[in-house]
Symmetry: D2
Amino acid sequence: MIKAGIVGATGYAGVELVRLLQSHPEVTVAGISSVSYEGKSISEVYPNLYKICDDTLESEDALIDKCDIIFASLPHGLSEKLAKKCVEKGVKLIDLGADFRLDSAEEYTKWYGKTYEEKDLHEKSVYLIPELMRAEYKGQPVIGNPGCYPTSIALGLAPLMKSGLVKDDGIVIDSKSGVTGAGRGLADNTHYPNCNEAFSPYKVAAHRHTPEIEQTLSKLADKKVNVTFVPHLLPVNRGIISTIYASLSSVVGAEELHKLYSDFYAREKFVRVLPLGKAANLRDVKFSNYCDISVHADEHTGRAIIVSAIDNMVKGAAGQAIQNMNIMFSLKEDCGLDFIPPAF
Amino acid sequence: MIKAGIVGATGYAGVELVRLLQSHPEVTVAGISSVSYEGKSISEVYPNLYKICDDTLESEDALIDKCDIIFASLPHGLSEKLAKKCVEKGVKLIDLGADFRLDSAEEYTKWYGKTYEEKDLHEKSVYLIPELMRAEYKGQPVIGNPGCYPTSIALGLAPLMKSGLVKDDGIVIDSKSGVTGAGRGLADNTHYPNCNEAFSPYKVAAHRHTPEIEQTLSKLADKKVNVTFVPHLLPVNRGIISTIYASLSSVVGAEELHKLYSDFYAREKFVRVLPLGKAANLRDVKFSNYCDISVHADEHTGRAIIVSAIDNMVKGAAGQAIQNMNIMFSLKEDCGLDFIPPAF
Amino acid sequence: MIKAGIVGATGYAGVELVRLLQSHPEVTVAGISSVSYEGKSISEVYPNLYKICDDTLESEDALIDKCDIIFASLPHGLSEKLAKKCVEKGVKLIDLGADFRLDSAEEYTKWYGKTYEEKDLHEKSVYLIPELMRAEYKGQPVIGNPGCYPTSIALGLAPLMKSGLVKDDGIVIDSKSGVTGAGRGLADNTHYPNCNEAFSPYKVAAHRHTPEIEQTLSKLADKKVNVTFVPHLLPVNRGIISTIYASLSSVVGAEELHKLYSDFYAREKFVRVLPLGKAANLRDVKFSNYCDISVHADEHTGRAIIVSAIDNMVKGAAGQAIQNMNIMFSLKEDCGLDFIPPAF
Amino acid sequence: MIKAGIVGATGYAGVELVRLLQSHPEVTVAGISSVSYEGKSISEVYPNLYKICDDTLESEDALIDKCDIIFASLPHGLSEKLAKKCVEKGVKLIDLGADFRLDSAEEYTKWYGKTYEEKDLHEKSVYLIPELMRAEYKGQPVIGNPGCYPTSIALGLAPLMKSGLVKDDGIVIDSKSGVTGAGRGLADNTHYPNCNEAFSPYKVAAHRHTPEIEQTLSKLADKKVNVTFVPHLLPVNRGIISTIYASLSSVVGAEELHKLYSDFYAREKFVRVLPLGKAANLRDVKFSNYCDISVHADEHTGRAIIVSAIDNMVKGAAGQAIQNMNIMFSLKEDCGLDFIPPAF
């Protein structure tokens, strides 16, 4: 059994990892840590886990000593140090934060206001959306786990980017995220009466996931791609929908688009290209590792419209991290990830 | 006092008119009608009105005989006949349905599958978003009240369309509507467990409001404008947000855009251009006749981003209809419409 | 015009007062104050008020000097000092907090952990649920405005308590409150993902409103009444429903109960006793000053079941405070309170 | 592998069974049926199942011929005939409807308006809440699966009923159910704008689960028990909370109550008695087979207050049915039921 540790276990992605890993057949949760709640049982913080996982929250260092792999779910700027300690001790690391996502140190500094201190560590890390990049995994000890928005968007746009059909500067991405995306920290905009019966964009064309999105799309298209990206806060607990508009350089009908997508994802279990005429709904992927994609054409303006839906906490965070762990340990990629989305 | 009648009073727009007109200082609700509930009290159907308005639902014809103005909230295809009767008897009509919105009989037939039977009636009618078109009211007996999506979009785009800054085919509109927009009729997609904790687009690039949107934008731009328009069903009761992306033909900064909008709407009470840096939220316009607009620039892709929020049942339906009635009767435009949006 | 000031204007009850008083025909909001936001415009804190009320938040003292009446919405323990200042300057005070609700200084200390410092002030104050106690207003300069739960419960039980039909210790009250009842302060249990799709009681049989409830019921019954009271947090913004179970000393059928209630409230505009067979729903009183009451009998166990619904922020706070102000100033009791609950 | 069939697979309990059984290690779903959708794929009706279970909906008879056990989720009055066919062919049946719950044919007729046609079948059936009645399973071919409210209430009251501490007629049950409890059928009260931001009791003291509740409590107490039972519709998708008030014949403190409950359920995996001071929350049992119980004392009125929370679709329907199937087939009772409630 693989011994896994979770650093930042009382954050939302952390506790989701605790939950999902309970049913992974090849993994034991060997330890969990939290700075704020060290010494407490996690089920005091999350009573859903009472009598299921009453493990005590330990220090980060205690974990490293007894684990084969660490999942880190920390605010940006804290993962490098942790990574260094892990790599030195031969422990693998999957970072669910932002510190190992961007290739460019400049972009990281521009968007996150910090600097890469350990440049060689970044050489040893890889950013991995499994369906698009699994071939790039070559034993690196550190994986940068993708952000939630970038996952939904990269999966939604990959076939089109590869096709060469998209006009330069022709992409608009309108994303909507459930409130868990904002995390466990209390804030005015996630106070119930402020976000219930409310809806608004935030960080309009200024969200930190923008460089990550453009990095992936540029690689797929093999040229620099800029996008307009606007996220919105959606009054639901879970899920992200990205409605993606792509201006095409030639007329492409809905059937042709649908075939492009169906062929591209024909062998991918976790990406479901919906039948033509259906629209992706975050309801249908909640609590699962699936990404549902629906494909639409607006021929009178020459745009393809792609709708991509994931559970932000599963495929957008903890589930994809486990998928990446499965790759790291040469397990079947869907091992421990057979969660079926409920109908309601 | 103006004697007003409401045809289709048990629909959502109808009952909102009943509510709003109770506090209009110049209007008496002289009669209400409903085909499905004739003979019943409206407070049996809507218990919120118990002991406030227990009026009995009558026939359409009974109403015409005792009213100065009829508000019609009917499925499309039924308003022409009603309009004919009203006009013959010298009664004014404001149609909240789709039958007097489109200038082009061909477009109407294409999108609604019916034909204009009474062409001269359409000559006598006018489509009116007060802030943009009040000068076009010249005593016509019939007003076509705008749709909810088109209202939020036309107000959101008018300053830009008039400016000539928008590239051809450069507009993407991503709209999200509360569930009351789908009306009172029962349907699978508005069954609570289906739309709570759910989110999805519908009628992608195929919604009937598209020709109405393009008609208004084309007039404003003084050339044919095509748009990509995708509506989504939002799990809240009320409100519409349209996030509008417009590719610009030259570089325009956020301050300049903001000045364009602030100047354009400087004298409009019901359109609030938010301070730069804020984002419009449907929470802040609910239960009111306000349209909140926030202006953003994405300079790295050359797009303006406009966020426009209204209450779909007030400014998007009943409130705007009353505003139009005020124009018809030469009252102050905001008469009876001083509803302050609650904080929660 | 009466010059009103609101102390604690950025709390939820405070900002609701700001909103409701805008449309009161006899009142001008002469000043608003807030310790946390002094010097800021209230519309920076509550953007729903932008361009409607952009007043600057001042100090408490500045308000007293220019107002005829102060509404105070403060944490308990802070109102006595304010009251003293007001009374000395001849300014009336309506306290929406807990400091002038309990007759018994011992009970106040027991439940709130503070003491009455100004005993004579309490002599000059009166606790007022208008429908039940308006006769007790005899020019007192200070009114203790009732709590939200106690209002819904006292109105729901008054006819039964007066009837003498209720068995000793025979009352169970199961109340459910919308999240605004917890106020504007951030807390774990009002963080959106914690209370959306959740439901739980809190302070089971230990809520501070218990002595206030028992005080009123005891006066109505003319003997000491104890109740079991359990509040629950309901995932909606507004509204309180109290489902009240009363064991009866003799068999009383539903019709008889209904007549008792209908007669008792026959002249009360803001209390609607629903037709037999209907159940009160908080949906139907939202945004209004109404209290809806439905009456049911469970003859096989000998209990009456009363369901009482109010908007916690209107009839349960700001609306009732205005109703009390109307009494203080000899205005019609419903003056400025004609808010019609919307259907949705 | 046990071959299971689901009759009524497109109802809410049916589709939940389809989902839960996918991950049961000893069961294959051999067939699913639906009268309304025969011939269609279930994933056309429930797109969450797309590419996971695209099975075609067959006729009831086709299922019986190939299954070892049938789960029936049908409107009342239809299960007897199905049971007869199953029993004749040696196929086991678990009925999730109401037809095998009540011992008394008179009560069934009184509450459901139908009659038991096959009296001997009822002799061969058993009603089973596993934690309380598993000893009563002696190979009967038909199990009547308990209702959702009765499950939450029986588990919540069993220790007290057995203790003999509860006064006659001393029980009040205030239950709140998520909207899935009302099923898949469209209705006015489950139309989104009607039940969002709304809350109301329904069938006050007249719900059909009342005789089932009283039957179980009477057996536990070994005397006839009457209760006052009021259900409410809660604006969440899933979950039931029952707040139960029991007047006690002697003074019992919270610690003593807590010990009574902890001891009673010490060996039950699926019943979690929460630490004293906590309150059960339906959030913490959602999507799982757990029943959380919190115990409280109101000594000043002599009542115990028990809060019992389940997921109405799992422990209240499909999960408990699987637990009962496990008993029927001598599997471990928790087999295939290790669903961990998510934190959000």
